[in-house]
């Protein structure tokens, strides 16, 4: 009877332990012989007598409270289906969305008929994971003014295991660009929202009044872009390449690292240089 090793890596089908006292969790299986095998490639973890193998790479595994970026795939009966790179589409209930008209507004039958006016197939949104189901599916909510439809930018996708979970997933970056880093590996790069100083100061002074709430809620479902300058568009493209470089070199992605690699990338005046593998490796070597 050997103690399983908690330091190394397990490959699919590898024997973890032949001791029947352990309980088998996610990422493990057993056969006729009552021994425990790994079903994925990853590291072994234990909680008391429960063994689980956490896979190194794979689809996004939703956790309650995660800030994610997803895309609507289906408008259904009082709910939307949202694709977020997990094994199953997440569901977003009509009741978990702030509709224009204030927080206290009641949902009517009309809202049910007009669901496509709020969110339709293909729309991108950021949301929070509210509940995770047994089968790997999850429910989302957008009950905060931080969440809603995404505009003024473009999407960049990386493997979800490269995302470092941080307190804040939205980062104001150099060059008037803001990055919303979804825990599922979807990163939204957009023009920075911070160009409305007078509105922000009034909000600080008075708190949220009813009118502002209404206009912000309408903004959540706005379907057009603001005016975006050429420089900002170029910067967004450069950030896109920087993120791809990090992903190619298997580096973790988080706000301060994005700032760092962007600074380093400015050596190359032509952002198209960042597509070369030597340049990517050189940039990632410079990072702390």
């Amino acid at each position: 009877m050997e103690e399983p090793s908690f330091s190394g890596l397990f490959t699919p089908g590898e024997l973890i332990t032949d001791d029947p006292m352990w309980m088998r969790g996610h990422g493990t299986y057993t056969g006729q012989d009552r021994k425990t095998y790994s079903s994925v490639a990853g590291k072994l973890q234990r909680v008391n007598k429960l063994l689980t193998v956490k896979q190194l790479n794979g689809r996004y595994d939703p956790l309650v409270g995660d800030h994610i970026v997803g895309r609507i795939t289906e408008v259904g009966n009082r709910k939307w289906s949202v694709e977020l790179g997990a094994t199953q589409d997440a569901s977003l209930q009509l009741g978990s969305v702030n509709l224009p008209g204030g927080v206290l507004r009641r949902k009517s039958d009309d809202d049910e008929l007009n669901m496509r006016e709020f969110l339709k197939e293909g729309d991108l949104l950021n949301a929070e994971v509210q509940m995770v189901y047994q089968d790997g599916g999850c429910a989302l909510h957008t009950r905060s003014l931080r969440y809603g439809k995404l505009r003024n930018g473009m999407l960049c996708t990386v493997p979800p295991n490269l995302i470092l979970r941080q307190v804040t997933q939205s980062h104001d970056l150099e060059g008037g660009v803001e990055a919303i880093i979804g825990a599922n590996g979807y990163i939204w790069l957009r023009q920075s929202q911070g160009q409305k100083p007078e509105q922000q100061t009034t909000r600080k002074a008075n708190g949220l009044n009813r009118l502002e709430q209404d206009s912000d809620a309408a903004l959540i479902f706005k379907d057009t872009n603001d005016e975006i300058s050429i420089q900002t568009r170029q910067t967004i493209s450069r950030y896109y390449n920087c993120i791809q470089a990090l992903a190619d070199c298997e580096m973790m992605i988080f706000g301060s690292r994005l700032r760092e690699i962007y600074e380093a990338s400015l050596v190359y005046a032509d952002a198209a240089e960042l597509l070369k593998i030597e340049v990517k490796q050189d940039l990632c070597r410079q990072l702390k």
Partner: protein
Amino acid sequence: MKLSNTELEFLRTSLTGTPVIRPDSRHAGQLRPIESEIDILPMTYGSARVRAPDGSDCIVGVKAKVVNRHDDLIDVSVDIAGLKDNDALPNSLALVLKQVLDSCPEITNNALIINDKYGFNLSVDCVVLSYSSHPLVILSAAIFQALKSTHLPKQLDSLEMDENMDLTKTKTADEAEIPQFDDDWSQSVPLCPEGWTPPLLFIVSAINNTVVIDPTINEQLVAEASMFFTWKNSKVSAPIETLNTGSTPYLGAFAPELLLEAYSLVENCAPALEQSLLSSE
């Protein structure tokens, strides 16, 4: 995949402005870098794997067998991982690639012909493991590399054959024509004639008044039309066809002046790609 209205609008304004801003900062006439390896499959006569940094990956293997000579000596099959069996894309890609290879007399009328009665049937089998832009470009680069590395067994000429043969035996007319090959693989002959390179394909998209080469899938979604160009014998040649990109929101056609611009884009970047593929061997 469907994009949101704001994404489409952002992409299209970026691509139609001056300067043209592509999502990955490339210039309008710039290809994505690709890397390739050859002779990766030991059971084939020639093989190649081509990868792009965005994760596109494609493997091609070439095999040959002796058949009764007929006009149709090249078979191309394409398999794309993750697509259903009844998807039309792999078949339409195979058809295009076969059409391109069939119009190369350098191999169909030359290396594949053994004698009046027999010829080599060439099977070009392609697997696309993943792709993030139209797979035609990466497929053509992989086929280019695979054909370039393909060798066929050396045919023993009849004189040499006679020495090894039992002369007392009488031969029928059919037997006399059965080709004999050298079993020493180091003596094998390359499929492609010296100095000739297989054709390459390039995709060009028209977006309002701009033309971009090697578009990503998202760029194709906001384009009016996409076409592919064949680069053969150091010039743009047939087939040049429109690609079916499905029903995209800005569907339209190629304006004649854009066609000329697309032509020059291909002419500008094709020799460099050809060179880089040849030098990676």
